[in-house]
Amino acid sequence: MSRTSVLERGVATRAAALLGLFMLVAPLLLLLSSRSADAITLCLPKKDESACIAGTMGTRAKPIEGVDVILTKPDGSTETQTTEKDGKFSFTVTEPGNYLVGVDPDTLPDGSELRPPAQASLRGPDGALKVDNVQLGQNYGATLTVRDADFDDSTNKLDEFIQSAVNGIRLGLLLALASVGLSLIYGTTGLSNFAHAEQVTLGGMVGYGLVNVAGINLWLGGLGVLVICGFSGWFQDRVLWQPLRRRGLGLTQMMIVTIGLSLAMQYAFQYFVGADTKRVVVASATVRNFGPVTITDRSLAAMAISIVVLLLVGYALLRTRIGRATRAVSDNPALAQASGIDTDKVIRLVWTVAMALAGLSGILYALVVNGIKWDTGLQILLLLFAAVTLGGLGTAFGALLGSLVIGLVVELSPLVIPGDFKYAAALLILILLLLVRPQGLLGRAQRVG
């Protein structure tokens, strides 16, 4: 046997083996090559080995091709990828740390530029995006936005203003539903109810339970929320507030009781429902455009329902016997009682209606912002107080006006100041107003000190 034949035989075996292997992996390779046509490299993060930073230039509908995306690594070195037809880029990195993702402005299409990230904490040098604290085994999304270079914010200002104003009125109406009740309770009993916001959350939670979990029709579910929340108000007054009034517990102490109730309810929500956002309706809402305004069907319905309910409450307060009695108790409980009004009955009714309205506000809020969480109410509690105080403590129509003002301030203020100051702006307005007009917009001038 010569050496060559051995060699030949070896080659032949190896070739056969290779061929077999190829047959096996060919479909896989085909798969891979077809994948690589729409992704630069398939990046899958491996635990403790690598991480991925990926994103798309342009939108999914209109990707931008041929842009040089530059990744700056923690050690200062850079890596460049050119986007293909689908506009995607995907970097595999092997070092944890802080990265920067930017683009080469010369490779962007003519007349467009990179928009710096809106959040200051993500803003790197030259409009690059900071991707901080990259850890191995994770995927990181890098959202780079491209806009026209002659993109002019001012042309959009009016449209933006109208859209924000509509959002503001929507928020104001929802706040009004809850704050009218808060104001009526304050008016008839003198109590600042810190647990009112949890009643708003309760409305959303009951809605989630009835509509999403139990699968009841949304309209019936809404009715159920009204009934259950109204009952919770009746029940609270029956077992808690009325006995406390009878005991002669001071208002300060009662207010601290409401704080305790609010704490207990918040954590009870977390305990029983969980700490994440729950959606009342899973399907997303239909979006409509009216000129510059984009709004969902649900928001429109919520606004209409709020207006109708608020009108009904207003009519009841002004024109019905019980409404007049409520206003009388609000004005002067002792005198009202002396003139034959059963104040306890009126207050019981006020609690029931106020909690039903808060619940309605909660389920509508959950539908409009697409979900309810244990602290949803907590976030708007101070807006409610601001609305009530702004309108004049204890005046129902003041609460309505105050809510609309607060809603508009919250939604319009981001046009001039950073967005995360919007709640702060509403509260600041409250404090400033108290300086010049402590009785509120519609309150009667009286000694408040």
């Binding site: 959040q119 200051a120 904490s121 803003r123 600042s192 406390l244 005991r247 517990l249 001071g250 208002l251 300060t252 102490q253 207010m255 601290i256 009781v257 704080i259 305790g260 109730l261 609010s262 704490l263 207990a264 309810m265 918040q266 954590y267 009870a268 977390q270 305990y271 700490a275 907590l378 101070l382 107080f385 601001a386 105080t389 403590l393 100041i417 950073p418 967005g419 995360d420 100051f421 709640y423 702060a424 509260l427 600041l428 409250l430 404090i431 108290l434 300086l435 402590p438 408040v448 000190g449």
Partner: protein, 397 residues
């Protein structure tokens, strides 16, 4: 017994935690506002947060420790002035709404990311990590390194029998009961004898408790003895200050404002000035508490939010408003009680060995529900708390 000893150890760790002392300081400040002057301040967390920011940011800017502390105090001082001018002339419930709104404004601004220079200072919702401002304080420690167990002489040296510990805890309860009786004036001791007896009983109780549930910790590191001792020494100094202040004519003027503003006015007192002084002094206590609170952790705006104020109220009402010892006793009972509920629920309600009806997240939520209900029951059935005098709490907004 092992289970119980573990729960007791968890309670002890919470009791010596510098954060408990920090909240106790804030509660002492709140006591000046609410207990003595009748100011319904629901924004005590803002004083804490501002003190913490002033302190931490100064140090990250490279300023020395004493200057940083002064900056923290100054920020709280200015905040008290800004808050007081528009609100102290108004009725109590307006003060409540404005203070809580102002506290929320401070928190929103602290956690905002929209303004770059602000974000560079505060670090947004993530906050400022403790490692960036803790060192100057840690460097002051003369405790050296290593670990210490308090007490080094404890029940393990005598006998491991549960009977010894059981008897010990019964004695502890007896001592606390005696201290409470003396504190409430039920036992006829007056003046120096009363203070002396209280101090003696407290010391004996503390030593016995450490004997029964020894705590081991680092000498200087985070959560170590250095932090604990400094925090509680500051609390002791704060108590002495409040003792002096409330027994002075000024302290009586505070109570006068609480009981009847108009009567004070007719006596020629400047009610606004007295209220403002109370707001500032209580706020400064809050600021010191805030600095102490963040030293072993981070300056996170959401950690010093509304709930801390509510906890402070619970602790104050538990211990007894308008009393000297109430805030400290209340804070201790509050945090130790919460630890006991969580540890107890973890042991008995969340394990396969006993009953398993909740998971580990739910046990702490359960504790908060209990706290909320406890606050309600406390205010309804015992508004004067453990040490307070019911007659002192008739005031109203």
């Amino acid at each position: 017994m092992d289970d119980i000893q573990q729960i007791l150890n968890a309670m002890m760790r919470e009791a010596v935690d510098p954060k408990t002392a920090a909240v106790a300081l804030a509660v002492i400040g709140l006591n000046i506002h609410f207990g003595y002057t009748g100011l319904l301040n629901i924004g005590q967390s803002a004083f804490m947060l501002l003190g913490a920011y002033g302190f931490a940011i100064s140090i990250t800017q490279g300023w020395p420790l004493p200057v940083a502390i002064l900056v923290g105090l100054l920020v709280a001082f200015v905040f008290a002035l800004v808050l007081g001018v528009p609100t102290l002339q108004l009725r109590g419930d307006y003060l409540a709404i404005v203070t809580i709104s102002a506290a929320e404004i401070v928190r929103y601004v602290g956690r905002s990311v929209g303004v770059e220079w602000l974000f560079d200072l505060t670090g947004g919702a993530q906050g400022i990590p403790g490692s960036r401002y803790r060192d100057p304080f840690t460097d002051l420690s003369f405790f050296g390194s290593g670990n210490t167990t308090l007490l080094p002489f404890n029940y393990l040296d005598v006998s491991e029998s549960p009977l010894l510990r059981l008897a010990g805890w019964l004695v502890v309860i007896g001592l606390i009961w005696a201290a409470v009786q003396i504190g409430r004036g039920k036992i006829g001791l007056e003046g120096g004898a009363r203070t002396g007896a209280l101090l003696g009983l407290s010391l004996a109780t503390i030593l016995l408790v450490f004997f029964l549930a020894p705590v081991a910790a680092q000498n200087t590191g985070v959560e170590g003895w250095w932090f604990t001792v400094v925090a509680w020494v500051i609390v002791a100094i704060g108590l002495l200050l409040v003792l002096g202040l409330t027994r002075s004519p000024w302290g009586r003027a505070l109570k006068g404002v609480r009981e009847d503003e108009d009567a004070m006015r007719s006596l020629g007192k400047n009610v606004f000035a007295i209220k403002m002084q109370a707001l500032v002094i209580g706020g400064l206590f809050g600021a010191v508490g805030g600095m102490m609170y963040v030293l072993p952790s981070t300056v996170q705006p959401d950690a010093l939010g509304r709930n801390i104020t509510f906890f402070a109220y619970t602790a104050l009402l538990l211990g007894g408003a308008a009393t000297i010892w109430g805030p400290v006793l209340g804070s201790l009972i509050f945090f130790v009680g919460r630890a006991a509920i969580i540890a107890g629920a973890n042991t008995y309600l969340s394990s396969d060995q006993y009953i398993n009806i909740m998971n580990r997240q739910q046990t702490s939520q359960f504790a908060f529900v209990v706290i909320g209900v406890a606050l309600m029951l406390l205010v309804i059935f015992r508004p004067q708390g453990i040490l307070g005098d019911k007659r002192e709490l008739r005031f109203n907004v």
